[in-house]
Structure formats: C-alpha cells, structure tokens
Symmetry: C2
Subunit: 205 residues, 2 copies
DNA sequence: GTCTATAGACGGATAGAC
DNA sequence: GTCTATCCGTCTATAGAC
C-alpha cells in the first residue's frame, strides 16, 4: 500500500473551490452541457490544474453527487416515529423547504440528473432511497391506523413533499417571474401555504 | 414578397420527424447537451439534410418551444369562472396530470428550460404566463370570498398544482424506482391521491 | 503545483456533386 | 432533397517545461 500523501491547506482549498464551482455549472447546465473550462475559470484555476486535482470531468461530477445524496436525505432520516405525527411531517416539509432556499444548486443538480434518466444514481434510487421511503411509509400508515392523522397514500405523500418543496428551488425563475418584481422572497408565503395545505389534508376527521 | 414554396408531403413528413426526434433528445439532454447528430439519426436523416429543413440547432429548439407553450397552458385557460369551484380545480389537476402521463417529453423540455434559467422564454414567463396566472388568482380569491372554497394563497395553489402533476413526468424515473417493479403505472394512484389532497384542502369549513 | 502548448475527438454548420 | 467531404471551432485530456 502506498503511503497517503500529506494534504496541504492549498490542496484542501482548491479541491473545495473546484467542487463549489462545479456545483454552480453542473446545476445550471447538466453534465453534458457543462464544460471543464467553465468550472476551472469559475474556480480560479487553469484547466490542466483542475485536472491535477480530479482525473476527469466525470470524477468531479460523481464526487459531487456522492457527497450530496446523504445530506439530501438527512431530513427524511430525522423523521421521528415516536413524535407527534402532524408536527413531524410539518417539520419535514419545513426542513425540505429550507434546503430549497439555502441549497438551490444542490436541488437543481439532482433534478437535472433525474430528468436525464438518473444514469449515475439509478442504483441508489432503487436501493437506499427506496428502502428509506418504504420505512417512512410504514410509519405513516401506522399513524393512520391509530387515527392520529387522516389516511393517505404514504408513498405519494412523500412524493408530494418532494415536488412541492423542490419546486421553489428548481423552478425559482418561473416562480419569481409569475409573482412579479414586487416579491423579493417567495419562501415565507410558500412556507405558510404548505403548512396550511398539509395541516388541512392530514388532520383526522 | 417571395412566393411561398409549395410544401410537399415529404417536406411535411420530414419536418414532423425532425421535431419529434428533437423533442426526444432535447427533453432528455437539455439544449447544450443535445447534438444535431443525435437528432438527425433519430429522425432517420443525415446531419446536412436536417439542416436543410432547419437553419440551425437553435431554430429547431425555438420552433419546439413556441409550438408547445400554447398547448401547455390550454388547461389553465379552460378553467371556467362560472363553474363549480372545487370541480373546476380538480378538473384542472386531472388535465395537468393527464398531460404528464401522455406528454412527458414536453414536460421535461420545459423543466430543462426553466432549470437552466429560462434563457429563451423568460419574456413569456413574465408576460403571457404571469397575466394568465394573475387572472386565475382573481377567480380563486373570488371563490374564497363567496365561501365556496377554503381560503388559500391563489398563486401558490397554482404552483402546487404544477409541481405535483409535473413531478410524475419529470421525476418519472425516481417515482418508479421508489415504488418498485410491482408498480407498472403510478398514475391511477397519483390521481386518487391528488384528488383527496385538494378536496380536503379546499373544502370550506 | 501550476503553467503553455497541443493532441485527438467531436461539435455545428457549409460547399458542392448528384 | 439528399448525399460526401470538409471547414473551423471547442471539447476533454495529456505532455512536458518550470
């Protein structure tokens, strides 16, 4: 085995700058539409220098995807089966909406990947993701069995939370165009709307 | 003025084949990720022959977008202010969901365009689209004033209908991966879920 | 670690024969 | 209308000097 190289401060800094720049470009253009030149100049590096840190465009992209998938699913993992059902679901909606507000590039990166057929994370989708959603669905069904929330299709409930919250990141341009110049931040209204929507839908009786 | 050329049957057929192939490729790869070669071979033509019908890649793309925008908004235009409020909204949801089922490529084409900053339809979004949504919002507010539906933020209601229905086209791969191999058609369940969701949310009292 | 220079493949678009 | 051949630009990636 080779000795691990000492990682200098400048290495860490450049690697981070590259991944940040790559997130900018890939999330806006998709994998095929992005170019290494755009990433390099956005990171303040020359193209060969960037390729000194990552062996290929593909390697940058998969490094990004791999790091992101886990953090992206954390809010769902945080859902507590022992908590108050409606409060737990509303908290999940809010966390997801906050991620759309604070990490829109990450949301668009995943959206691009899925729309293009998820060629690089198809395995994760039908593995990790599917298992996690199935577990969550069991919890939701149990809550409905106990009469603590109204009965809903649990898988489609999860889909609806994803689509509603991610919409404000992925379709941000459209949301702002429709709301007009007067609205500088659509998120407070979105949060109130989603809270109302899910409360009315899930309150028993 | 030049005389309009007679349009032969083969011209109409090739033009249609090109647009159909372009829809395949652009919806899957986005504008930058698509190549003229892919479109040409998918249409059964050589690259120079394709460029005999359209002057450029850009021209094919804008021709597609222009033709699609109108039909895409037709379901919203069909919403009748004189009809029963809940029935009108549920009918709109259903028409949009049917479009996701029957025209997923069109949905993905728009999704790609918006995610990438809508460089070619920004004007339409803050013009035609915004006016149409504003008119619809007034109708929804009026229905709430009259107590015929529960009060909701009308703009975000429209956003939620878009995001929930288009999700089943744009994120089709993810939906099917999560539901598993047993589910061949997610749409019947989706329709039932959305009908329940909006009925509970909009029923007054 | 970072650069200039460039290889080699592929992109959009055109010329011109048929 | 359709083809082969090709121009020219840009792409990813590498070689090699410093």
């Amino acid at each position: 085995m080779a000795q691990p190289r000492p990682v200098t401060r400048i290495q860490r800094k450049n690697r981070a700058a590259i991944l940040d720049a790559a997130l900018d470009v890939f999330s806006l253009k998709g994998f095929d539409g992005a170019t290494v030149d755009q990433i390099a100049s956005s990171a303040g590096l020359s193209k060969p220098n960037l390729l000194y840190y990552f062996p290929s465009k593909e390697a940058i992209y998969t490094a990004l995807l791999g790091e992101l998938l886990d953090t992206w699913l954390d809010p769902l993992r945080a859902l507590d089966p022992g908590g108050d059902p409606l409060a737990e679901i509303l908290a999940y909606v809010q966390r997801k909406l906050e991620m759309s507000r604070d990490f829109p590039r990450e949301s668009r990166l995943f959206a691009n990947e899925i729309i293009q057929g998820a060629p690089r994370i198809a395995g994760e989708l039908s593995g990790t993701l599917r298992d996690l959603v199935d577990d969550t669905a069991k919890v939701i069904d149990l809550w409905a069995d106990e009469g603590r929330i109204a009965r809903v299709n649990p898988h489609h409930l999860v889909f609806s939370i994803w689509s509603l919250t991610q919409h404000y990141a992925d379709f941000d341009v459209q949301v702002r165009a429709v709301l007009g110049e007067g609205v500088t931040d659509p998120f407070p209204e979105a949060e109130a709307y989603l809270r109302t929507m899910f409360t009315r839908m899930l309150t028993p009786g």
